[in-house]
């Protein structure tokens, strides 16, 4: 299937999904759906670096939070124009602020992407293990930094008041839902494009054997930097609408470790070698977690994720897609 067809297919599915949920007339479904879509983007983004290149990123929460806090930053700027800028600038700026969420998504993506590039540049020349630890380090350093930055709320947190209703969509959550759908389409298309391109081969050689890859002419450092930047940018984009989704952002929850665990568990359970794997993992695990949180407790739901991660990593390392492929292969041979 050629890429433009794939994009159209996704748009068709997305549109259908939107109207089905709208017909159900229950805003809670949109909130739930937003969370699952957010996970799809995070999982797909993680997989570009983790599944395709073999470099584990423990700091997904950090990149995600960069997106969230970029939004908080610009929102706060918009709220305090008179305090920050001289009088003659306030007027024209007021027509620009508050920045629309799609713009914040782009900015969040750029900032997160640059941070990914920087981290990669510092650490990717070392072994993969050091990169993994460095990403965890980055997440904590960023969290500490934000904790001490009162402009974006610091430890007290920041309140965001989104508009109640939006033209065309109605309830604000539906608008955010559609935005997240667009991000899902973007990330899935990216992942699939990479898979089928020369870049995909390059990433696979890095995962398999970096030394041999270099000997074959693959510029491993450059490719790893591309992966890190792209992955970070997508995560930042996923985080940018968060403040408008929950209305209150504080470092503890924005940088929560569960984002890191989920963005690793979902691709590993779904399958890391294909663009579809993270999506499958995200949908399954995402819905499972929501059910568990509501029926049992949120701690138990995290326990389930952790146990599933360990289980799959030991027993079914190629994930659900791997199991399915194996099953198909055995059927063909039978």
């Amino acid at each position: 299937m050629r890429t433009p067809v794939f994009i159209l297919l996704q748009i068709a599915v997305a549109t259908a999904l939107y109207f089905i949920l709208r017909a159900a007339d229950n805003d809670y479904l949109f909130f739930l759906g937003y969370t699952v879509l957010e996970f799809i983007v995070l999982a797909t983004a993680w997989n570009i670096l983790g599944g395709y290149c073999g470099y584990v990123n423990f700091g997904s929460a950090g990149f995600f939070a960069i997106g969230a806090y970029t939004s908080v930053f610009f929102y706060t700027v918009g709220q305090s124009l008179e305090d920050l800028f001289p009088e003659n600038l306030v007027g024209p700026l007021q027509s620009v602020f508050p920045l629309p969420v799609p713009v914040l998504v782009v900015i969040g993506g750029i900032v997160a992407g640059l941070v990914g590039l920087g981290t990669g540049y510092l650490t990717l020349r070392l072994r993969g293990v050091f990169f993994a630890i460095a990403t965890l380090a980055l997440s904590v350093v960023l969290q500490t930094f934000v904790l001490n930055w009162s402009f974006v709320g610091g430890s007290r947190g920041a309140y965001i008041i989104p508009p109640d209703k939006v033209p065309i969509f109605g309830p604000y959550i539906q608008y955010l839902f559609v935005l997240m759908l667009a991000l899902v389409i973007l990330s899935l298309t990216c992942a699939r494009l990479i898979e089928r391109s020369r870049l995909g081969y390059g990433f696979a050689t890095i995962r398999d054997d970096e030394l041999a890859a270099e000997a074959c002419g693959v510029p491993t450092l450059r490719l790893k930097l591309i992966a890190t930047t792209l992955s970070g940018a997508l995560m930042g984009m996923a985080g940018a609408p968060l403040p408008f989704y929950i209305g209150y952002v504080e470092p503890g929850s924005a940088f929560d470790l569960s984002y890191a665990v989920n963005s690793i568990a979902m691709p590993m359970i779904g399958g890391t070698t294909s663009w579809a794997g993270p999506m499958i993992g995200a949908v399954l695990l995402g819905t499972l977690q929501q059910i568990a949180t509501v029926t049992i407790s949120s701690a138990v739901n995290l326990l389930i994720v952790g146990l599933l991660l360990i289980g799959f990593v030991i027993v079914a390392p190629s994930g659900i897609i791997g199991l399915w492929q194996g099953w198909m292969r055995r059927r063909k041979e039978a």
Partner: protein, 289 residues
């Protein structure tokens, strides 16, 4: 008076550093010598803390004594986990991605289990040396820091002697550098690694007792230590126990001074910042191989 503050910050930092050395000793073995990235090590330390807590609160036994009693259990736990790790990952050559994910899962699951059992209240232990301090000249030596530091240094020295003087110890140091040579001496590298990993988890038992003496704990405290452990390990140089000790003392002092003069909320950033700096500038560390 600033100087007095600084002096006591340095002392507290050194004492804390001794404790950090004990915490990191396990990783020095598993990561530094066996090349196993056990990012879940802090979880075992927390496990040690809570076991010490339960026995101490219910039976009144000193936490350090508890940790020594449960040492064998931790050793076998470590050996068991290594066996799973070996069969699932090392044998298949998949240890980089999947091994990391595995240990991350272990960290997470352990933390959540402790959370479910013990909840989010801070837990602490009772012992005669928690509270009083030794005063000397203008210097304060809080006993709750001094005692763990002292015992941890003993543990550290014991480890060093074990690695340098006993056959198995030397085999552990050799196993990452030359497993073939070990095989030629009729020593099974896998068995050596299992023993070593068991020891590394056993150290977590004692480190856990030290931790809950020094500060009250909740399950998420482990995460603060991931950074410290790896920062110390990398700064000291992988595979070098003496390097680990020096790096631990250094980190303890820097953290303590930062905490006293800039506020405790900057502490986690210190260790991770040092880690990033070391990785960027001299990844082989101070005394690295």
């Amino acid at each position: 008076m600033e100087l007095n503050l600084l002096l006591n910050a340095v002392i507290a930092g050194l004492l804390l550093g001794g404790f950090y050395a004990a915490v990191t000793a396990g990783i020095s073995i598993s990561f530094g010598m066996l090349d196993i990235v056990n990012i879940g090590h802090p979880a075992f330390i927390l496990l040690g803390s809570y076991i010490a807590y339960v026995v101490n609160v219910n039976l009144g036994v000193d936490p350090i004594v508890v940790s020594i009693i449960v040492l064998p259990a931790f050793y076998f736990l470590g050996a068991f986990i290594y066996q799973i790790y070996y069969v699932s990952f090392e044998k298949r050559g998949q240890e980089s991605l999947r091994g990391l994910a595995f240990f991350f899962g272990v960290l997470f699951v352990t933390e959540v289990c402790l959370l479910l059992i013990f909840g989010v209240d801070y837990r602490s232990v009772n012992a005669t040396y928690i509270g009083p301090s030794l005063s000397f000249a203008h210097m304060e030596f809080p006993l709750r820091l001094l005692v763990p530091c002292f015992v941890s240094l003993i543990m550290f020295a014991a480890l060093q002697i074990f690695l340098a003087r006993t056959f198995i110890g030397r085999a552990v140091m050799a196993v990452s550098q030359d497993p073939t040579a070990l095989r030629l001496m009729a020593v099974d590298p896998t068995r050596i690694k299992r023993i070593a990993f068991g020891i590394s988890i056993a150290t977590a038992s004692m480190a856990g007792a030290f931790l809950i003496i020094i500060q009250p704990v909740i399950p998420s405290v482990g995460r603060d230590y991931i950074g410290r452990i790896f920062a110390i390990c990398v700064l000291g140089g992988l595979g070098s126990l003496p390097g680990t000790l020096i790096a631990a003392l250094l980190l303890g002092v820097i953290e303590s001074i930062t905490s006293v003069f800039y506020g405790p909320s900057w502490a986690p950033a210190v260790s991770f910042g040092i880690l990033l700096l070391t990785l960027a500038v001299k990844p082989s560390g101070l005394l690295g191989r």
